[in-house]
């Protein structure tokens, strides 16, 4: 990272009298504010926002940006997050007039171009999933899970069935149980299995007429494809339950197989992962869901409908599905992110998507093959788009997954995901994505080897070249400081760089 010098908080930089944006004089006649709004409603003092010049603001935020790692600047093999390249063309197109400046209540007839693209997006997502009915409504992947589970609730209610349980494997994302619980279901977690796949025996034990949904990520969070998925789906369908596919790992199977082909009834996409809506330092995402025909009427909405007018031309309009479970947010959806996904699919086409998955799987397997002699990989010789290594073999030397992760930062690599999934001790979850070169992967491999050979005590104190090192999380949680407080400013400013051992920089 370019910038290791501490940056004062915005709130500490204000100087009374400085200004950036000013507005024109009020150009309409009429009474002053206190004649328009009753005294009981008016603020008695101005908001205490920092007073800054525009130059302060630009330098401040640019300096902050230089204290980040990102896909544009670093290899970012954060497992489960699909940190692939974000095409710049998407940013330009998303900013076009007619997309960026459209009010959410614009009349349908005035925005046929935009609605046409969104309709096409619904169709394409349905095709990629093998599940024809799509709602673009949910704001993020977890919101999509919640939306689909509510859709299931509405579907079962329409059939007069009272089903209370949602089942998921031990390796599930934490969002699965959290979403199920929000949707009013009882959560049942299966016992882990020795081979990393869904524990079929335990699943069979749990199945019954009270089971509503089985949620599974496929490929799963260990980067393995659940080969029994058809059998699992058959078992669920036999008891009248539904199969939910968590689409977090779709980047492994685009055009190779489809959730609808292997028995899934519902799924969500993470557009910011699979289809390169940028991750935005934590969001925004978009979490459209795709479901089977018989669930279409229950989808949250609105959705976009196409019909032909008198002249046989297509017309698009917003429509709430007949027995919709309802609305989960205001307006239609996270259009800006969905459009970036649309641009991605339109520029790649079927072959491009398939090749993206093929190269994602190739890159992951290459890393796995070349790292498995120094890091143990408990579940398998091969993987899909990611794999989970374990640092347990280094424990005898006193090394942890966290030590490797922290030291990688010094070498200019973002750390993989560590300590997830919970079923692997000392987990190091690596997802290279398709948009990295062999040269980058080779360099990453060499670096891991170098790190493992380094002195344990030295690694415990890594990283050395980042703006800060191993922040005290216990202190943060015991006495939370969640907003700026002048009393909590740092005591010393004299050594913003801290100690840097001469041999630590690389």
């Amino acid at each position: 990272m370019e910038n290791r010098i501490a940056v004062r908080l915005l709130q500490e930089q204000g100087v009374p009298g400085r200004r950036a944006t000013t507005f024109p004089e009020c150009d309409v006649p009429g009474p002053e504010l206190d004649a328009l709004i009753g005294r009981q409603h008016l603020a008695t003092a101005p908001c205490d926002l920092p007073e800054l010049a525009e130059g302060d603001i630009i330098r401040h935020f640019v300096s902050l940006s230089q204290r980040n790692m990102s896909v544009d600047t670093h290899f970012y093999p954060l497992g489960s997050c699909t940190m692939k390249y974000n095409p710049k063309r998407h940013e330009r197109w998303a900013g076009l007039s007619g997309l960026i400046d459209v009010h959410p209540y614009a009349e349908d007839s005035r925005i046929q171009g935009l609605l046409g693209m969104l309709y096409e997006m619904q169709e394409m997502l349905g095709e990629i999933a093998g599940l024809p009915a799509v709602s673009l409504h949910p704001a993020a992947g977890a919101h999509g899970e919640f939306a689909a589970l509510l859709t299931a609730q509405a579907y079962f209610a329409s059939r007069g069935e009272h089903r209370t349980k949602v089942i998921f494997p031990a390796s599930a994302h934490g969002t699965n149980p959290a979403s199920a619980s929000m949707a009013g279901f009882e959560c049942v977690q299966l016992k882990p299995s020795a081979n990393g796949f869904v524990n079929l025996e335990d699943l069979k034990q749990q199945l019954g007429p009270d089971v509503a949904v089985f949620m599974v990520t496929n490929p799963n969070t260990l980067g393995l494809f659940e080969g029994d998925i058809q059998e699992i789906s058959r078992l669920l369908h036999e008891v009248g339950g539904l199969v939910y596919i968590d689409g977090a790992n779709m980047n492994a199977i685009l055009g190779k197989t489809r959730p609808g082909d292997f028995g899934g009834d519902m799924m969500h996409y993470n557009v910011h992962k699979t289809f390169t809506g940028p991750h935005g330092a934590g969001g925004p995402g978009a979490g459209p869901i795709a479901v089977r025909d018989f669930l279409a009427d229950f989808l949250p909405g609105p959705v976009i409908e196409r019909r032909l007018n008198g002249q046989g031309e297509p017309e698009y309009r917003l429509k709430t599905p007949a027995r919709s479970v309802g609305r989960l947010r205001s307006f239609l959806g996270n259009i800006g992110i969905l459009l970036r996904g649309y641009f991605y699919i339109r520029t790649l086409g079927a072959r491009g998507l398939r090749e993206a998955s093929e190269h994602a799987v190739l890159n992951a397997n290459y890393l796995l093959a070349r790292l498995s002699d120094v890091l143990s990989v408990p579940h398998g010789q091969r993987c899909m788009h990611e794999f989970v290594a374990s640092a347990t073999s280094l424990k005898s030397r006193g090394l942890s997954a966290m030590d490797i992760a922290k030291r990688l930062l010094d070498y200019g690599f973002h750390a993989p995901t560590v300590y997830f999934p919970l079923v692997v001790p000392e987990a190091i979850m690596i997802e290279p994505t398709e948009t990295e070169s062999k040269a980058t992967l080779d360099s990453f491999i060499e670096t891991i080897r170098t790190i493992i050979a380094e002195d344990a005590d030295f690694l415990h104190r890594a990283p050395y070249t980042t703006p800060v090192c191993r922040p005290d999380e216990v202190k943060a949680a015991r006495e939370p400081i969640l907003i700026y407080c002048p009393c909590a400013a740092p005591e010393t400013e004299e050594s913003p760089l801290g100690e840097v051992p001469a041999h630590a920089s690389v």
Partner: protein, 128 residues
């Protein structure tokens, strides 16, 4: 504190019964599993608790443990010192780190709780 004089739950609470008042805490095993403690939420004085039902939380950096009441009854006192001195819970879970005191509705319920050897075998099975 003589640990063999206490009664335990399988969710790692202990109870000390002096014939009138039951003092409740969490065991050293629970504290070591949670690691660095950051926050504890205790029931309010006067609250009516149900045996086995959640009545508070013990939070560490990495996990949250639910605090379950070992007995049914009414809370008579809570250890307010922990708010300022959470380290007492980590350092002395059976002593200064006690959590709350209660009057049990039915003191005979104590007999249903685990004795020390039974609790030790619970811990043993969980540490594998």
């Amino acid at each position: 504190m003589d640990l063999s004089s206490l009664r335990y739950t399988s969710t790692h609470e202990w109870v000390h019964w002096d014939g009138a008042v039951a003092t409740v805490g969490i065991t050293d095993f629970a504290v070591s599993q949670l690691t660095d403690l950051v926050y504890v939420e205790l029931p309010k004085v006067g609250a009516a608790l149900q045996a086995g039902a959640p009545c508070g939380e013990v939070e560490s950096v990495k996990a949250v443990g639910e605090l379950n009441s070992p007995l049914s009854g009414q809370v008579t006192e809570v250890n307010d010192d922990l708010e300022e001195h959470l380290e007492r819970l980590s350092e002395s879970p059976f002593g200064e780190g006690w959590l709350f005191r209660m009057t049990p509705t039915n003191p005979a319920d104590l007999d249903a709780l685990l004795d020390r050897p039974a609790y030790e075998s619970v811990c043993e099975s969980e540490s594998h």
